[in-house]
């Protein structure tokens, strides 16, 4: 490999966000005409690395060279002009414009030099050429409106757009996540075409099968560090998983010594079409059930449907042996099934209101008589519960937006606890908070388990899942792929294997 000429070479990349290290010595080298898969757990730093290569983030240290020349992109536009393009997971076409207009957005052919009149004919002709080249001209015409294409076709157009920039390197972030099998085939055909053109492809994917089918080499990141690069032909599934896991178990997880009681909550055949399917689970009093899976596995979606926030197509909820129906989050609160969402800003808190108002919002059953708020009780309980959580604040009249992430999370917990949960769903309870606050939240969780609350914890941090959970349920592609107990639950390999959909 020594003499291989790399088209793109990123070496020793460091990046940290407000003190948190995301990348440390990350590395990625791409040979022209290869499909290079990039793998790693959630939060391993894949997206950050891509954004640094694209010039969206600035790197703290390291070099990125393209064709042997150092790059210093100020924006994604610079990267595009230099020959690196990225197809994002979330596509962003302009629906009311035509295919041709979308492809050449921002670099339209002018009819007359220096005058702002667009030469539509020329745009259409150029687009038609590209479509024919990739065998898409049958389905897509240059003058079709973007909104009339389906998701797969839009994705194809994004790729074509990338190529029309004469890209030397194309980055694809989970390109098949929204495609059907047939559409995926078309995508693979296009990829083969790109490889023939000696374009280097960086392919981020969570699908093992695809990686083995398509890629020439695989690089693995873990905790922002470069773990290694292997030839796909010489690698095995186990080997790759071993490279991805093995994050240090940073000790200090309190052991859940709570006595396990009866089954509190049982879900049967939970289904929401296209999102999750036939999910069954049960959780006991005093137990912490971990839910593992990669992004998009459907874990949060199941829980959101459980509490009535999202629509549920079918499924049964059995709480303490009784069938219940939940149509609106209000029903869940009444049945003491409480969810602390991962997204504090979006779903957890009303940031522009006070701590007190946030804590009491879902608890007026306790704090009000015939819809008149009992202000004394409200103040007292809000104060008690936030102090139990050791929330750092001047007082309960503080605006929630003035608190740090960890303290906001404590306010969310105080609010949930005031509802006397029987089942507490904690979605990524420690995301984005510092180490000290994490430890505090872990201790609170154990405390709650001891009170007999059944806790369901969704987490993308394997050490946290293994350290805290009594059992770990793993989901992949909307299905439960396994429930691990005891020794098994402590194996990062087993969890990751299931998260990738394996047996």
């Amino acid at each position: 490999m020594e003499d291989t000429k790399y088209i793109l070479e990123a070496k020793g990349i460091d990046k940290s966000f407000s003190g948190v290290t995301v990348l440390k010595g990350a590395e990625l080298c791409i040979i022209p005409g290869e499909l290079h898969a990039l793998m790693g757990e959630n939060g391993a730093g894949k997206s950050t690395l891509m954004k640094i290569i694209m010039g969206i983030y600035t790197k703290d240290a390291g070099t990125v060279t393209l064709d042997g020349k150092d790059t210093d992109f100020k924006s994604a536009r610079d990267a595009l002009d230099a020959g690196i393009s990225m197809i994002h997971q979330e596509l962003s076409p302009i629906p009311e414009m035509t295919v041709a207009e979308n492809v050449f957005l921002g670099r339209e052919q002018k009819k007359f030099k220096g005058l702002p009149f667009v030469d539509k004919k020329e745009l259409n002709r150029m687009t038609q050429e590209l479509l024919e080249e990739f065998g898409l001209s049958e389905f897509i015409k240059p003058d079709m409106k973007m909104k009339d294409l389906n998701i797969a076709q839009i994705q194809m157009m994004e790729i074509i757009k990338a190529i029309s920039y004469n890209s030397k390197v194309v980055i694809m972030d989970e390109p098949t996540s929204s495609l059907s099998e047939k559409e995926t085939e078309t995508l693979f055909r296009i990829i083969a075409n790109l490889k023939e053109k000696k374009i280097g492809i960086i392919y981020i994917s969570h699908r093992m099968e695809e990686v083995f089918e398509l890629s020439d080499r695989v690089s693995v990141l873990r905790d922002g560090q470069f773990i290694g690069c292997v030839n796909t032909k010489e690698a095995s599934r186990e080997e790759l998983i071993n490279m991805m896991v093995g994050r240090e178990l940073e000790g200090g997880y309190p052991h859940n010594t709570a006595e396990k009681g009866d089954v509190v909550l049982e879900l049967k055949n939970f289904t929401r079409k296209g999102v999750f399917e036939n999910v069954n689970l049960s959780v006991h009093a005093g137990e912490i059930l971990g839910m593992a899976g990669l992004v998009g596995a459907g874990r949060s979606e199941v829980m959101r449907a459980l509490v009535g926030y999202d629509h549920l197509d079918s499924g049964e909820i059995i709480l303490e042996g009784k069938n219940i129906t939940i149509k609106h989050p209000k029903d869940a609160v009444r049945n003491h099934i409480i969810m602390a969402s991962e997204d504090r800003k979006e779903l957890g808190l009303v940031l522009c209101r006070s701590i007190k108002e946030n804590v009491s919002l879902q608890n007026f059953d306790k704090l009000a008589n015939a819809s008149f708020i009992n202000k004394g009780t409200e103040r007292k309980l809000a104060d008690d519960y936030t102090k139990q959580m050791a929330t750092k604040m001047n007082g309960i009249e503080d605006m929630v937006s003035s608190l740090s992430g960890g303290n906001q999370q404590k306010v969310v917990l105080a609010k949930c606890l005031l509802s006397d949960p029987k089942v507490l769903i904690m979605d990524e309870p420690t995301r984005g908070i510092d180490v000290g606050a994490k430890a505090a939240i872990y201790n609170i969780m154990i405390e709650l388990a001891k009170r007999g609350i059944a806790i369901i914890m969704i987490s993308s941090e394997l050490p946290e899942l293994i350290g805290m959970s009594d059992r770990v349920m793993v989901m992949s592609g909307g299905k439960v792929t396994g429930v691990l107990e005891g020794e098994e639950a402590a194996s990062q390999q087993k969890i990751m294997n299931l998260a990738f959909g394996g047996k």
Partner: protein, 315 residues
């Protein structure tokens, strides 16, 4: 730094009162009629219309919405009650029928916004236009003369020497303050404006609350419609035109954020009192109404500017 913020906060909270006091002191020197009880009653009577409307508007804006249709509801109330009394109907029945109509208008607004998920601006812009059209078509563009003395009392009568519109204004203010500050409904209004998704996950029936807020606003418009028709002894299809703008102005001057979640009724009350004082003062000073509009606009800019200052700059 925080001290500076505190200063700004104090300025914000009491700024409106300072401005109002300044106008009162200035006017009592400039105009001999200003401090007479007759002029003060006059001011209160003038602000009663915009005041009642602003109370409902504040609830709507706190949820992050807007209600442009209130002016049309005023007109519908006037022509419906006017036509019923003109054809010999009982005044009380006329009022109740008009109330039902306003409830329907509010429910349509609320339904469009919370269940069909229209943007509040578009939904109420449409119902504003439709409502005005209905009022004009129903009355064939002509006003109904009202002569029922009991009804006229609503706009012109007195109880214990206090004009009835002022008493009604007081009732609406107190009811509004109680609902917003002491009930769960009030909290839900703030929560929906602050973060609708979080409110829903907390078990708040967000759609019902949103619908209720628009109904509340229409009820305020109904009250204003009755007072106005009674005061001018006629139900006019063109009544209440652009009243929504003054109500929105009072709410904005009072420090309620147009994106919802932040604000207060006490602020709005200060807002409409200030607007009323300003109108009255400029009339007494014989300032041309063209210039009055300029002053009003500047006041809104000043108040909102102070508001932003007090919250600290966002980067």
């Amino acid at each position: 730094m925080t001290q500076k913020k505190d200063m700004a906060k104090i300025l914000r909270q009491f700024g409106l009162i300072f401005v109002a006091l300044f106008i009162v002191v200035l006017m009592s020197f400039l105009s001999p009629v200003f401090m007479t009880s007759q002029n003060i009653t006059n001011i209160l009577r003038q602000i009663s219309l915009n005041g009642i409307l602003s109370i409902g508007m504040t609830f709507v804006i706190l949820t992050g919405g807007i209600d442009l249709s209130v002016g049309s509801v005023i007109a519908i109330t006037g022509v419906i009650s006017g036509s019923m009394m003109a054809s010999g109907g009982n005044w009380f029945v006329a009022c109740i029928v008009a109330l039902l109509c306003s409830l329907i208008c509010g429910a349509i607004n609320g339904w469009l916004i919370s269940y069909v998920e229209f943007q509040p601006f578009i939904a109420t812009l449409s119902t504003m236009t439709i409502g005005r059209g209905i009022a004009l078509a129903y009355s064939d563009g002509k006003p109904y003369t009202i002569s029922d003395p009991s009804f006229i009392n609503i706009g012109q009568g007195y109880v214990l020497g206090i004009p009835i519109p002022i008493i009604l204004l007081l009732i609406f203010c107190i009811a509004g303050l109680v609902i917003l500050n002491m009930t769960t409904f009030g909290r839900y209004v703030f929560a929906i404006g602050g973060n609708k998704n979080a409110a829903k996950l907390s078990g708040v029936r967000t759609r019902r609350i949103q619908l209720a807020v628009y109904v509340l606003s229409s009820v305020c418009a109904w009250m204003v419609g009755l007072i106005l028709a009674a005061r001018i002894s006629s139900g006019q299809p063109t009544a209440g035109e652009s009243y929504e703008m003054d109500a929105i102005a009072a709410t904005a001057i009072g420090g309620t954020s147009m994106s919802g979640g932040i604000g207060s009724l006490t602020g709005t009350i200060c807002g409409f009192i200030l607007l009323g004082l300003l109108n009255n003062s400029m009339n007494l000073m014989n300032i041309n109404s063209f210039y009055q509009q300029i002053v009003k606009g500047c006041l809104i800019i000043l108040a909102v500017f102070l508001d932003m200052k007090s919250k600290g700059k966002k980067d």
